[in-house]
């Protein structure tokens, strides 16, 4: 009889970490299984996000362009003085803004996608990882469009991307992973308490100003110390240097941030998995 071949599942009140091997196996299995659903959710989000707009995918380019125009205006008014030509500064800011936008998109993505899927979470059992992976796909798509536009814009401005641009992909990927990991870490608290959602834009604004997006990190002073402690700094600077200059002094500075990001990404994925059922239990509906 076919019933003998059916897989058996036990649901108990015991801690998920009580069987760490089973937990990691199930988590990896769900990440692997969630590909098709994540792809479907990514396509749904992409289509529905821009279907009712006049500018369509143009909205992907507007945030970094706005940042660039703002800082060019500040430079012309001598409020910001980077010591380079206007064209060079535009390339510098635009590159930094595109990378920063990728980081902040990744940071906000997990909480945004989980919040928008609350009714699904409260009624359907599916790999929760699919939601955040689908969100990550959106972030990567947006970033890909922006980077492609950036490279064309740089060539048009007379500052063509360097030969080392393909190497920047690693730094950019690490930057996105860092943002996504911090975002994933915030999900349980963010779903339970709206303080996280309300506080995130403030934190992101402060973080923007302590990250050398539109300026070079000073070599001394408080901003230099804060900038060095900021894990975004080495990854963003490394990526921008590789695109604009083809050389960098920040490989060693980026290594610890990269290693920590990769290590913590796994731990945060486990944390997300074991805490999300407690969050779902408290969801309305």
């Amino acid at each position: 009889m076919r019933d003998h071949r059916l897989s058996e599942r036990h649901i108990t009140p015991g801690p998920a970490l009580g069987d760490p091997v089973g937990l990691v196996r199930a988590m990896c299995g769900d990440y692997a299984r969630s590909g098709e659903l994540a792809w479907a959710l990514f396509r749904r989000s992409l289509r529905s996000q821009y279907r009712q707009t006049l500018l369509g995918y143009g909205w992907l380019l507007i945030p970094p362009l706005a940042t660039t125009v703002t800082f060019l205006a500040l430079q012309r008014a001598n409020i910001v003085n980077p010591g380079t030509s206007a064209a060079g500064y535009a390339a510098f800011v635009m590159t930094g803004a595109v990378l920063w936008q990728g980081f902040t998109d990744a940071l906000g993505s997990p909480l945004r996608v989980i919040r928008s899927a609350i009714s699904m979470l409260a009624s359907v059992n599916f790999p929760r990882e699919a939601l955040v992976v689908g969100g990550l796909m959106e972030v990567l798509f947006s970033l890909g469009v922006r980077v492609a536009f950036l490279l064309i814009a740089l060539a048009a401005m007379g500052s063509p991307p360097s030969w080392a641009t393909p190497l920047a992909v690693g730094a950019i990927a690490a930057l996105v992973l860092l943002g996504w990991m911090v975002g994933l870490l915030l999900v349980p608290a963010g779903i339970l308490f709206r303080d996280v959602e309300l506080g995130l834009p403030i934190i992101t604004t402060v973080w923007f100003f302590i990250t050398p997006v539109a300026y070079n990190l000073p070599s001394e002073g408080l901003l230099a110390i804060v900038g060095r402690l900021n894990p975004v700094t080495p990854l963003l600077v490394l990526g921008r240097d590789l695109i604009l200059r083809g050389e960098t002094e920040h490989v060693m500075a980026a290594a610890p941030a990269l290693a920590a990001t990769l290590g913590l990404a796994f731990a945060v994925s486990v944390l997300f998995r074991i805490t999300i059922p407690h969050v779902v239990k408290r969801l309305p509906g």
Binding site: H10, I11, Q52
Partner: protein
């Protein structure tokens, strides 16, 4: 029906706690998350401040081919039971063992995007429900046919009526290949024709799955379920195969609001008494009848409006206040029968072929000359019919069966 001996779902001493206060509930959630991080499971058996047991010590098993109806008042724990069985969260005590694929039809159309077309949503919703894309491609025409959406499948879902969207969602959900199916009150989808189609589809499913069906519709429960689980404040109030007993147990939570001083425009009730007909030894205000017994109604009413001849009707309604039968006795009340605006009368109903259960009696009066209705004296009295033969419909008619060549007797 294919009923295997091995249970597909086994629930033992299942308990789930909730907290009423929002902020405290969120703090407990944060605490429970922290417990997970230090590899400690659910908190102990004692409730924390503000908590209550949404489910307590629930135990049952279900095999393929069985359908367990879960009924209970609002807040009894039905939806919590479905969610924890579906693995959305962990219980606080007890164990759940499932075999095979478990899926739920709890909220139809979850994940639908209104700006996308029905076609696009079929693929997305199918993916959410765990149906592989290749299967959706293969079954797409069947889904569209079942949902009766037709050419609108390429229009944005926001242009659909609520019924159309639910029909499409139901048609997609029907394509899930499940061993254990959890249903939460979703069979009231679409118009009458579509509902009948849903029921047929579900009945086909019942034969090959173990189904847990949460509903407030007793006719549906009686029609689909092989066993009943009645929940009362999270605890099992009844569990067994006796469907009438289970339904009666559920109805006992909602006592009839009978009113033996009922008033309506033009007349009011002074007194009423019910008794079995023909008379039996015991006569009380809410008599207990056997299936097929008759009923006698003795009433005194007072009129505040003039009339010449009044026709009376007796309405019989069930615990859900649905009319199930009506008696229009011969004869009428005449103005000259009144004594100080009052009249006493008896109505005899020789036979009541109703399902076992509790019923209410209401009185309606109509002026035979003007055709004008007096108001209805609602739920003036109640009675019970006891018995163990429970049918799918309220009225159970007699009949006889005969082989070819023999005569059926009436």
């Amino acid at each position: 029906m294919n009923t295997s001996d091995a249970p597909l779902i086994r629930v033992k001493d299942l308990s789930v706690r909730y907290c009423r206060g929002l902020f405290r509930s969120l703090l407990y959630a944060a605490g429970d998350c922290a417990r997970e991080l230090v590899a400690r499971g659910a908190p102990g058996p004692d409730l924390r401040a503000g908590e209550f047991w949404a489910l307590r010590d629930v135990t049952f098993e279900l095999r393929r081919g069985e359908c367990l109806g879960v009924i209970g008042a609002n807040g009894a724990g039905k939806s919590t039971l479905l969610k924890v069985l579906n693995g959305l969260f962990k219980p606080d005590a007890g164990t759940i063992t499932t075999r095979g694929r478990v899926g739920a039809l709890i909220e139809l159309g979850t994940g639908f995007s209104p700006v996308l077309s029905g076609r696009e949503n079929v693929f997305i919703n199918g993916a959410v429900l765990g149906i592989p894309r290749s299967e959706i491609v293969r079954r797409f025409e069947r889904i569209v046919d079942f949902s009766e959406i037709g050419d609108a499948i390429d229009a944005p879902v926001r242009t659909y009526s609520t019924g159309m969207a639910l029909r499409l969602a139901f048609a997609i959900a029907l394509e899930m290949d499940l061993d254990v199916l959890l249903l939460d009150e979703i069979l009231a989808v679409g118009d009458v024709g579509f509902r009948a189609k849903c029921h047929r589809a579900m009945e086909e499913r019942l034969a090959d799955s173990a189904v847990i069906f949460v509903s407030h519709s007793m006719p549906q429960v009686a029609r689909l379920c092989t066993r009943l689980l009645v929940l009362d404040k999270g605890r099992i109030a009844y569990h067994g195969p006796d469907i009438p007993a289970g339904i009666e147990c559920y109805y006992n939570h909602f006592p009839f609001e009978g009113d033996d001083r009922a008033r309506a425009a033009g007349w009011s009730l002074e007194s009423i008494a019910l008794a079995p007909h023909p008379p039996q030894e015991i006569t009380c205000h809410a008599p207990r009848l056997s299936p097929g017994d008759g009923l006698r109604i003795d009433a005194t009413v007072r009129f505040e409006r003039a009339f010449r001849r009044l026709a009376l009707s007796v309405l019989f309604s069930d615990r859900e206040t649905r009319g199930v039968a009506q008696c229009n006795p011969s004869g009428a009340l005449r103005a000259e029968d009144l004594v100080a605006d009052r009249v006493s009368f008896q109505i005899a109903v020789p036979r009541l072929p109703l399902n076992p259960g509790s019923y209410a009696v209401s009185l309606v009066a109509m002026d035979e000359e003007t055709g004008r209705f007096f108001g209805t004296l609602q739920h003036a009295a109640q009675f019970r019919i006891d018995g163990d033969r429970f049918g799918f419909t309220p009225v159970q008619l007699d009949g006889s069966l005969a082989l070819d060549g023999q005569n059926a007797t009436c």
